[in-house]
């Protein structure tokens, strides 16, 4: 009888083994790849969520944030793409930052965002138009009415900030001249305040910091409903499509992640983002978190692909 039981147990064990493996996930530490240097917004999100995510995983393991700042993020993205599809390597992705190189066809790009397993989203930041507080221009229409090109500050022509400026000014019918080469959003928003240019198109959270310090006025937001009092929204500017211009923070694993593993990661991530601790952090730090599940992440990605493919002529020289 005992032998029979033992044999039965073994059989059951063998049949359930693969399931048990997935149920055992995670059995070791999970590497969370950040494809930029420490210190930026993407880094901050991962480092904030990591300890909370650890608590929501079925097994107690560590989440190890790993910065891979090379080739403008392409190296980190490739590392996640090529990782073994076991769920122990995931990464945070700047969309459209990592998507534009793929549409543009950058050389040696070793990832395909369409094939990756999307797990969730920390949300998207909208874009808007800002001018220095002392500027005589009060609305986007004022910029449009100028009989000279409006000087915008932005990072280099291969960057998404530059593409966003090109696309938005085209949609709005503003004659533009772009002063390029600034290193990152803080830098080009500060540049317009200094008087290097007339106006700037950039992510709203970055611009809001300078609004708070009294140096910048946001005259239009590319949102369906403007979050800035007194600023026109995308619909009022006659271009609802402007709301597609955004910076999304999406989380993905390598292609062909087993569905059970993907489900565990996605659900734990969602639970972590909805955790009261995350809400407290978000409130105190002033950094917004809009939890999105796997389906919403995939939806954001597809929407962005469609949008930027339409405007591929503005994506700058390939790297």
């Amino acid at each position: 009888m005992n032998k029979l039981l033992a044999a039965l147990t073994t059989c059951v064990g063998m049949v359930t083994a693969p399931v048990a493996m997935a149920a055992d996930f995670p059995a070791k530490n999970i590497q969370f790849v950040i494809p930029v240097s420490p210190g930026g917004g993407f880094d901050t999100y991962v480092r904030a969520v990591a300890p909370i995510l650890e608590r929501h995983l079925p097994q107690s393991v560590n989440i190890v944030p790993t910065n891979i700042p090379a080739a403008g993020g392409a190296r980190g993205a490739a590392q996640v793409y090529r990782a073994k599809p076991d769920g122990y390597t995931i990464g945070i992705f700047n969309i459209p930052g990592m998507l534009v190189p793929q549409i543009r066809g950058d050389s040696d790009l070793q990832y395909d965002l369409k094939k990756m397993t999307w797990l969730g989203s920390f949300g998207q930041d909208g874009y808007g138009v800002g001018v220095p507080t002392a500027s005589p221009y009060k609305t986007v229409a004022d910029l449009k009415a100028l009989d000279r090109p409006v000087k915008f500050t932005a990072s280099g022509p291969s960057s998404t900030a530059y593409s966003a400026t090109m696309i938005a000014t085209d949609m709005l019918g503003i004659k533009r001249e772009i002063i390029s080469g600034y290193k990152g959003s803080n830098d080009y928003v500060l540049a317009v305040i200094r008087g290097d240019g007339d106006a700037v198109i950039g992510p709203l959270p970055v611009m809001e910091k300078f609004v708070e310090s009294g140096e910048l006025r946001i005259i239009g937001t590319f949102e369906e409903k403007s979050s800035v009092p007194g600023a026109q929204n995308a619909i009022e500017m006659g271009q609802p499509d402007l709301s597609k211009l955004s910076v999304g923070r999406l989380v993905a694993g390598p292609p062909d992640l087993p569905p059970e593993v993907a489900k565990t990661l996605s659900e734990s991530l969602m639970a972590a983002m909805q955790d009261p601790a995350m809400a407290t952090w978000s409130r105190e730090s002033g950094i917004a978190v809009e939890p999105g599940d796997a389906a919403s992440a995939k939806g954001i990605l597809e929407g962005q692909f469609n949008f930027y493919e339409r405007y591929s002529k503005y994506l700058g020289p390939a790297n």
């Binding site: 420490p38 210190g39 944030p65 090379a70 080739a71 280099g156 291969s158 600034y182 830098d187 290097d196």
Partner: protein, 500 residues
């Protein structure tokens, strides 16, 4: 302000905060000594571990760490010509020759006192300029950046007396290296030889490690013996003389500190530029410019003071606009965010006590690190007495680890090796190495800012003289280029008069 400062002091001078300050300082000293590992990496690693601590303990740890890195990094620069981080490379120039002369104690002592006084001056300047911090940050635009970089680049002509042509050749090669990577103005990447690794340009830390440490080790292993040629006693007197030297050359100390604070206040320029500009300005102001690079103690004082003073300056853009001036400050902001402090212009209003606490820990740490460092001078200086067959393999191994530790990229090890070979060839054929470093540090900034200034002015060159700070910098450049000539002319006339 005084009551807030007292509250901050009350919170810092608790057992727990002082404990974390000491831990942070020790970590800072260690990562400073390990080449390639700078404050940025260490803060990124240890910052998140402070979750769960109260904000003061976390800030004490961060401030302790940041205040100590610079002095830690100067130790290897002086002893084995291996810069602890890119900003310490300027300290190699005169620190290592001093070690070779058996005066490692003197150099370390000067570095310790210059670091701590520099740190204190940086913080005091910060406190003084908080009310006008916005104006300072906004006063520097692309035209000023270009002229600031040019002011550094023109020193190439003066940095190798008697070998100006050779210096310019090496400087040109350095500029070629500086332009590798993303073309920020026109888009795309250039001169990358199809290597993804070079997209972000030549990383400074591995390049400096290769350029400074490798050639010396090759030379040393060929010649045998030890670094210090004069095997006299490492007396404590030498160290105390070094400590005293910073005060004796107080003008150098003050100039270095102020340059460090100012450059630290300008976002996107960084500590390496600060240290080198402080070094060059000291060379230019000196009556014996030819004594630099051969073991002039002022060449240690200026960059070390600047390097520690820049931490105070770095806080200026952070407090004015909530933006980080450097990568290190960006990571610190990440730590503040973890503790629920929103970086932004209102941070100084909402978290005044914490900010003063941070400033206080930065000050305490730069002083404490130097005191601890001074106690270690004797055993540390013994390194320069080690025989080549023990020292060379260890230093080469540490260099490779350091090159890798910078960003955990294996390609950086190859890069350090390539620059090591370049450095050796330069020494072998009697070309100066310094111009390569100057060009590498400043080339990209100069090029990008020039293009931006031209876009802003619509192609008019007047932008470089019509803005007040630009005009001042322009005048300084003209002076730097013509002063040696005028001096020679005056001397000649003088001697002619004497003869007649």
């Amino acid at each position: 302000m005084l009551d807030v400062a007292l509250t901050a002091a009350g919170n810092v001078f608790t057992f727990q905060s002082l404990l974390f300050l000491t831990i942070g300082m020790l970590i800072g000293l260690v990562v400073g000594v390990v080449p390639g590992m700078g404050g940025t990496t260490a803060l990124a690693v240890f910052g998140p571990m402070t979750v769960g601590l109260d904000p003061y303990s976390a800030l004490s740890l961060a401030g302790g760490l940041m205040g100590a890195v610079s002095f830690g990094g100067s130790v290897t620069s002086i002893l084995i010509n291996l810069p602890g981080g890119a900003p310490n490379a300027a300290t190699c120039l005169d620190g290592y020759p001093l070690a070779q002369q058996g005066k490692a104690g003197l150099a370390l002592g000067a570095s310790a006192s210059a670091s701590s006084v520099g740190g204190v001056i940086g913080v005091f300047t910060l406190l003084l300029v908080i009310p006008i911090s916005k104006k300072i940050v906004l006063a520097f635009g692309p035209s000023e950046f270009f002229l600031l970089a040019t002011l550094g680049l023109v020193t190439i002509a003066a940095c190798a007396p008697g070998r100006m042509l050779r210096a310019m050749i090496v400087g040109g090669i350095g500029l070629l290296f500086a332009f590798i990577g993303f073309d920020n103005v026109n888009g795309g990447t250039r001169f990358t030889f199809g290597l993804e690794h070079l997209w972000e340009g030549i990383p400074l830390a591995p390049a400096m490690i290769g350029l400074f440490a490798f050639p010396e080790m090759i030379e040393l292993s060929a010649k045998g013996g030890s670094i210090a040629k004069d095997k006299g006693q490492v007396g404590l007197t030498g160290t105390l003389d070094g400590v005293w030297a910073s005060f004796k050359y107080w003008k150098t100390l003050l100039r270095g500190s102020l340059i460090g604070t100012l450059v630290g206040a300008i976002p996107g320029v960084g500590g390496t530029v600060a240290a080198f500009l402080a070094y060059f300005s000291t060379v230019q102001a000196s009556k014996n410019p030819e004594s630099f690079g051969k073991g002039n103690i002022e060449g240690v004082i200026a960059p070390e003071a600047a390097n520690n003073a820049k931490d105070g300056g770095n806080l200026i853009p952070t407090l004015a606009f909530g933006i980080p001036g450097t990568a290190e400050m960006a990571v610190l902001l990440g730590v503040l965010v973890l503790h629920g402090m929103e970086p932004g212009p209102t941070m100084i209003l909402h978290h005044e006590a914490e900010i003063y606490g941070l400033i206080l820990t930065l000050t305490l740490s730069s002083i404490l690190a130097s005191v601890i460092g001074l106690m270690m001078v004797r055993p540390l200086a013994m390194i320069t007495r080690l025989d080549a067959h023990i020292l060379v393999p260890s230093v080469i191994a540490i260099s490779f680890v350091g090159a890798y530790a910078n960003n955990s990229l294996p390609g950086d090890i190859v890069l350090a090796f390539v620059f090591g070979v370049i450095g050796y060839l330069l020494i072998r054929f009697d070309y100066p190495r310094l111009p390569l470093v100057i060009a590498l540090v400043l080339g990209e900034l100069a090029e990008r800012s020039f293009a931006q200034a031209m876009m802003i002015s619509g192609g008019s060159w007047s932008i470089f003289v019509t803005r007040p700070i630009s005009a001042l910098l322009f005048a300084l450049i003209v002076m730097a280029l013509t002063y040696p000539m005028i001096r020679t002319l005056l001397q000649r006339r003088h001697s002619v008069e004497e003869v007649s």
